[in-house]
């Protein structure tokens, strides 16, 4: 059976999260080395912008509640551990389908929401697909020898095909960091283009592992090359590097997305992953996105948080908004 048709049949709810549902998909473009080489990223200026942003933007009261609810719909609820089991993944899927207590939603006057996706290893795809049946929540799978991306190249490409076959709607690939570190942009482009091709209709997020790229300039150039090679999303990290998503790195990647959109007209999505665990941080990321990229990116088809503990903090903040009293973690259902 054709996987796309199968997915369509499976999704009773509109899969608004998927970029291809709303936006023309980034087809990529030939590698433009003039452009890549011209890219600059001034670290200290970028850090100053990132550092001052939380002081420049503030969202309060019902606005804060609405923004936090929106953030939930952008979370790729993730479990990527060696001890994952079917039970653990099902539990996570259940939480993805009902991320916020109903009485809180009622008090806020909100209809049902879900997280953006559930993100798992290949072996858990089938379980997740089954558990999410009828929810409209896509399954994302990390792939290509995640997290290091150093398994044999043909196996990495094959892994993508296997995951798509298993029902993953989104594939989070890892790039070969060495291509960036040695300035072999052609190799990075070719690799990304082949991964993209292997994904077929599943959409592809390119994990740059920014914590291992050495400089923000490298982050900017790698972002651009991956978009040129057809990435639907660019993503900061595997969550396994010692430094994961940061605001400066996000600013660099977001600006690359903006430049790519200005040049080609295609919108590429952004996913910071790892290290975002507080509701306040989530709001800061959303303001960064809104101010630097524009409001169109504040939808789950163009933005995701790769996070596991963020949801819990947001739930507590939402309850505080409703009751005026600080909440406790155990008052909210586990994922």
């Amino acid at each position: 059976m054709n996987t796309v048709t199968e997915k369509a049949a499976r999704s009773a709810v509109t899969t608004a999260q998927l970029p291809l549902a709303q936006e023309p998909r980034n087809p990529g473009m030939p590698l433009d080395m003039d452009w890549v080489r011209a890219v600059q990223a001034n670290t200290s200026a970028i850090e100053r912008r990132a550092a001052s942003l939380p002081g420049r933007r503030s969202v309060k009261k019902e606005f804060q509640a609405a923004w936090l609810l929106k953030a939930i719909t952008m979370i790729d609820l993730t479990t990527l551990a060696g001890d994952d089991t079917a039970g653990r993944v099902r539990r996570l899927c259940a939480k993805a389908a009902s991320p916020v207590r109903q009485d809180i939603l009622d008090a806020l006057g909100m209809g049902p929401i879900t997280t953006g996706a559930v993100c798992v290893y290949h072996d858990m795809i089938g379980i997740a697909v089954e558990a999410l049946q009828g929810t409209g929540i896509p399954v994302a799978a990390v792939s290509t020898g995640f997290p290091a991306g150093l398994s044999p190249y043909p196996l990495r490409v094959a892994e993508i095909r296997e995951s798509v076959k298993a029902g993953a709607d989104e594939i989070d690939i890892v790039i070969s960091r060495r291509h960036v570190l040695t300035g072999n942009w052609q190799a990075l482009y070719d690799e990304m283009a082949e991964f993209r091709k292997a994904c077929g209709d599943a959409h592809v997020k390119a994990i740059l592992a920014t914590g291992e790229l050495g400089t923000l300039r490298n982050v900017a150039r790698a972002s651009l090359v991956c978009m040129m090679a057809g990435a639907d999303f660019i993503k900061t990290s595997t969550g396994k590097e010692s430094v994961n998503a940061t605001l400066p790195v996000s600013l660099v990647m977001i600006r690359a997305i903006r430049a790519y959109h200005e040049a080609t007209g295609y919108r590429v999505g952004y996913k910071p992953a790892g290290g975002i665990s507080k509701a306040k941080d989530a709001v800061t990321y959303l303001t960064l996105l809104k101010d630097e990229l524009g409001p169109r990116w504040l939808q789950p088809d163009l933005f995701r948080f790769g996070a596991s503990s963020l949801l819990g903090d947001i739930e507590r903040q939402l309850e505080h908004h409703v009751t005026g009293r600080y909440s406790a973690g155990y008052r909210h259902a586990m994922g």
Partner: protein, 778 residues
């Protein structure tokens, strides 16, 4: 809007900061203030309204000081000064307590500042107030170190300080902290639009243990400023504000002996090279020209973009402007607040309306009431356009393009101002090449509007003189401890009844551009010895000779770029060549003065040349420890073209001291030799000619000091004038210097001990400190 609607629109909402505490403080004073004099409030006198520019509501009534109030404040400051100057360690404790108090009441200060001034609460909270605290901490340290590190410096006495409305409390801190640290007492006048945080500061100063009379604050408009400027018992005036008012203060204080520092206007260039991180450079502009609604003296208001990237730069900049949020300054989600007053709003509106450029203003929602002006970009202007030259002092950026780095520098420097400059490039060679070439007191590389108490701030040209912050800032609030008597006027020896001519005529000419030149006017004066011997003739220079000397200095501009090592060699060589002719010079001095000190004076002059040769490559700058990842380099640059009047009493030694000190630091010089004894100067050009001194670096004039003084001080292409003449020139020079606000160093009729090199004084007068901020990181 309900939660679901916001969830769909993802709009920003209101995020107001509460003004309750600040309003309560105003209420506790019944919204009516007198002056703070002698550690007490006076009764409110004739008052004027202080309004919130965001909604035009009355905040408080503030008193207009009378002459009596100002005198009471000055007297109170005078009476408190001696005791305050005694104990530097105690001063350190008081300044530390002030710093702590600022931090403890930081939100109260921030909210009150925003209410009074209209700047976004983000700025007053995250920038102004933390910098205020930083300034007091830093200068608490300076007080602590003063006895050890500045043993030869003494306080000036009573300082009159007049500050602007754009950074009310921060400017107070910049003025008050160094003044108090060095043992001065102050009478400060805040701007009439924004007096309130100064009054809160006064109110809290009691809690920091500031002794009565050390800090006095009088309020009112420019008339009160004039009273302070004109007050006889004030030793120093420090002013930050407009260039036109600064010029008037320069004129008003001329000849009074009052020390003066001026921090004035600017039209600071913001240069973007084609290899810059464009997005970061655009974000920098937000902090350059839309910071504090552009009401910043050092605002990067003149955008210069390299042609190849101009279109993409402008289009990305316009997009960024679309995202700026205007509105209630107390809203924590606002980028641009209200301009300070309806008067200022009208000025900005009229200036923009007069422009012929391509105007862009984003479709930003403006609040209905209050003084709001949208962020504005005007492109397609050339240097000849009024708006490229005039300071707008509002959120208006004007833009133009350049082709090469050399052209960027030329355009950047095509202004009467010289406060700050910003440049963006990822090329370290380009950055470090361009930064020293920019006529500015502060240069930011890949950043903008960075400030710190440790880094000097201040301008060149018509942006004023003096530095605030750092060790260099202390010079503005101290003097050397040495006391000196009045300089005795010296008259030329009169022509004798019966003249005895020399055997063979010797013709002393002027020395301009490396050539001996006859005086333009065709007049000379006979120089007689006291014994009635004709020693020679000296030309009487006029304004055209001075003009020619300035042209010659212009032609010698590369002198400022020579190495200290080269200048040292030339100065040593001058010493050597003077030594070779020591007897001749000694006799000449003895002949002219009728005394026997010639030999000693020549020996001292050779020694002085060696001293300045020694200094030529040793006046090092500093790398300041500023609280960023990066460095702030304090670089000593030549002042440029100096005009000088040599002393009459030490015709060779004084002359040589001035020549050597200015040359050593890379300056060019037009110097009037001693009026009664001009031949010591004219003989010296033969030393210059034999010592590889490039043409035009030193130009020697002779004649009437009094005639040349107004010409020299009024010349728009001279950067500084020094006078050690025994003629009474100080008032004339200081008054005429107001034209282009050149630096002056005059003797005010006091004598100087020329046997001392006084290197620190000369070094400081012969150099401008440029602070180059270089944040780094990869």
């Amino acid at each position: 809007m309900n939660v679901q609607d916001i969830f769909d629109s993802m709009d920003y909402g209101p995020a107001p900061e509460s003004a309750a505490e600040a309003q309560a403080w105003l209420d506790s004073h019944k919204r009516s203030f007198g002056h703070w004099i002698g550690g007490k409030w006076t009764k409110p006198g004739r008052t004027f309204a202080s309004r919130n520019p965001a909604d035009s509501k009355l905040l408080a009534k503030v008193s207009q000081a009378t002459a009596k109030d100002v005198t009471a404040a000055v007297t109170s400051a005078r009476n408190a000064q001696a005791a305050w100057a005694k104990d530097a360690k105690r001063r350190a404790q008081v300044l530390y307590a002030i710093a702590r108090l600022i931090q403890k009441q930081s939100r109260l200060f921030a909210v009150l500042e925003t209410l009074d001034n209209g700047k976004p609460i983000r700025e007053s909270r995250d920038i102004d107030i933390p910098l205020v605290a930083r300034h007091f901490y830093y200068h608490a340290g300076m007080a602590q170190l003063m006895d050890e590190e500045l043993p030869d410096r003494a306080p000036l006495g009573v300082c009159g300080q007049i500050i602007p409305w754009n950074f009310p409390l921060l400017m107070l801190a910049w003025k008050v902290a160094p003044a108090l640290a060095m043992g001065n007492t102050v009478v400060l006048k805040p701007a009439e639009y924004t007096s309130l945080t100064a009054l809160l500061f006064a109110d809290l100063s009691r809690e920091a243990g500031v002794p009565p009379g050390v800090l006095n604050i009088v309020t009112g408009d420019g008339k009160v400023g004039e009273m302070i400027v004109g007050h006889k018992d004030i030793d120093k005036i420090a002013f930050t504000g407009s260039t036109s008012v600064g010029r008037r203060i320069r004129e008003a204080t001329a000849g009074s002996g009052k020390k003066l520092t001026l921090e004035l206007g600017g039209k600071s260039p913001y240069i973007v090279f084609d290899d810059a991180d464009i997005d970061s450079a655009i974000e920098g502009l937000v902090d350059a020209i839309w910071f504090n609604q552009g009401q910043v003296c050092c605002a990067g208001s003149r955008l210069l973009v390299q042609e190849g990237i101009a279109e993409t730069f402008y289009s990305r900049l316009r997009r960024r402007m679309d995202g700026l949020r205007m509105g209630d300054p107390l809203d924590k989600c606002i980028d641009v607040g209200a301009v300070v007053d309806p008067v200022q709003l009208k000025t900005i509106t009229d200036l923009v309306a007069s422009s012929g450029g391509d105007i862009y203003q984003p479709e930003t929602d403006l609040p209905e009431n209050g003084c709001y002006y949208p962020p504005t970009l005007i492109t397609g202007l050339s240097p000849a356009d009024n708006l490229m030259q005039e300071e707008i002092f509002g959120p208006v950026l004007v833009g133009s393009t350049f082709r090469t780095p050399a052209e960027a520098v030329e355009l950047a420097n095509n202004t009467r101002y010289g406060l700050a400059a910003t440049l963006w490039t990822e090329n370290v060679n380009l950055a470090l090449d361009v930064a020293p070439k920019l006529a500015a007191g502060v240069v930011w590389v890949n950043a903008t509007n960075l400030f710190d108490a440790a880094a000097g701030f201040g301008g060149v040209r018509e942006s004023g003189f003096g530095r605030e912050g750092g060790w260099e800032g202390l010079l503005a609030y101290t003097k050397t401890r040495s006391a000196s008597g009045a300089v005795a006027p010296i008259k030329p020896a009169p022509a004798p009844a019966t003249a005895k001519a020399v055997d063979l005529d010797r013709t002393a000419k002027l020395f301009i551009g490396g050539k001996q030149a006859r005086p333009d006017g065709g007049y000379s004066r006979a120089v007689w010895s006291p014994k009635g011997k004709l020693l020679g003739h000296a030309g009487l220079a006029n304004r055209k000779d001075l003009r020619n000397a300035v042209e010659a200095m212009n032609a010698a501009s590369s002198w400022g770029k020579t190495t200290g090592h080269l200048r040292a060699q030339i100065l040593y060589y001058m010493g050597e060549n003077l030594s070779a002719r020591a007897d001749e010079f000694a006799h000449r001095i003895n002949d002219m003065t009728g005394k026997r000190g010639g030999k000693a004076e020549v020996e001292a002059s050779i020694d002085r040349l060696f001293t300045w040769a020694a200094w030529a490559d040793k006046h090092d700058g500093r790398a300041k420890g500023v609280p960023i990842r990066g460095i702030a380099l304090a670089m000593n640059e030549p002042v440029g073209k100096i005009g000088a009047f040599a002393p009459d009493d030490a015709p060779l030694l004084g002359f040589v001291s001035i020549v050597a000190a200015s040359m050593a630091m890379g300056n060019r010089l037009a110097i009037m030799g001693s009026e009664p004894y001009p031949l010591a100067a004219t003989d010296f050009y033969q030393v210059l000619e034999t010592s590889d001194v490039p043409n035009g670096v030193v130009n020697i004039l002779t004649g009437s000091h009094a005639e040349i003084a107004p010409q020299m001080a009024g010349h728009m292409d001279i950067d500084a004038v020094w006078s050690f003449s025994s003629s009474d020139l100080s008032a004339t020079i200081e008054r005429e210097a107001a034209g282009n606000l050149k630096r002056t160093w005059v003797n005010n009729g006091k004598e100087r001990d020329w046997s001392q090199a006084s290197a620190r004084e000369f070094l400081s007068a012969a150099t401008e400190i440029k602070t180059v901020w270089v944040p780094y990181g990869e």
